[in-house]
Symmetry: C2
Subunit: 185 residues, 2 copies
């Protein structure tokens, strides 16, 4: 059977970028379907009736939801191509731990900055984000920042990453547009 892979995505979403990078790293052919959030198409509602969120990977008609679950699914199905997670169980657990950390600690704090209603919320988010980044890998971001920056640069030099990430200016525009849409100043 010919494999049919589609990704329902929304370009400003880091979770969609995560799923897309996994597809790119594996070198898979897939249909990229840009969704127009916050409008949710019937396809989103049908494929992810529980969370009604993107990204959604559709593989031969069957949906897989939640970006980290999508990444592991892609790695499991196409295990003969570029390995995404380490095969050693302990290293794999570490990789899962940090991915989970990003979702729980970094994304939430970043969201407070982006979607604050009052200035103090943005300030809290900023403080929380810096604090959480400091604990990342037990290093001080002030002292060790070059390593993080260098890692980010190495990542963004990979074609799989660069083609999935939006330009900063475009991101600022979309945040401004969404804030207006949600009645935030």
């Amino acid at each position: 059977m010919a494999e049919k892979v589609s990704l329902l995505s929304f370009w400003p979403s880091m979770f969609c970028a995560r799923a897309r990078i996994a597809l790119e790293e594996k070198g898979l052919s897939y249909e990229y379907r840009e969704e127009d959030l916050p409008n949710k198409t019937p396809l989103i509602m049908e494929m992810n009736p529980i969370h009604k969120k993107i990204p959604i990977l559709i593989h031969n008609g069957k949906p897989v939801c939640e970006s980290l679950i999508i990444v592991e699914y892609i790695d499991d199905v196409w295990s003969d191509r570029a390995q995404l997670l380490p095969s050693d169980p302990y290293e794999k657990a570490q990789a899962r731990f940090w991915a989970d950390f990003i979702d729980k600690k970094v994304y939430g704090a970043g969201g407070k900055i982006t979607w604050h209603r009052y200035k103090h919320e943005a300030a809290e988010g900023k403080e929380e984000l810096i604090e959480n980044l400091k604990t990342f890998g037990s290093f001080s971001i002030e002292a060790e920042c070059p390593k993080l920056i260098a890692w980010g640069r190495r990542c963004s030099q990979r074609e799989s990453v660069s083609k999935c990430l939006a330009e900063p200016n475009k991101m600022v525009d979309v945040v401004v547009r969404f804030r207006r849409m949600f009645g935030l100043k």
Copy 2:
């Protein structure tokens, strides 16, 4: 090398029960260390400096944190014993989806009931919990409840589960004690 496995646990925690059930299902010998929360021992701080939370699995001196990551780690390391996750990638993704759903939707709503400060918060939590349980597997809990109850009963008949779950009365006592400790009526 002889395997040394310890679990830092706290009996009322569903996350600790989850990790412990995985060890029991595999039939592993392990040291069970009951922690006395909310006091956090130096061992918790050392083994999980990022979240400072239990459960923590310590395998030959190395910590693994976050209950779902612990379950997958146990399944990966002792892959020759009772398999916990399905081997089919799609079924595995489904299992991960529902485990994640429990953490995001059911636990949070349950927490609102247990740790409410005002009555309306408990009422909101109750409504949310029922709503989320209704979406579980696309069935109506009112109409299909017997299946859920039957599944719960089958689970609790397994020794691995029954020995890891606390008695309801004991749970009520600890919630009352903790609510007082946290200044909640």
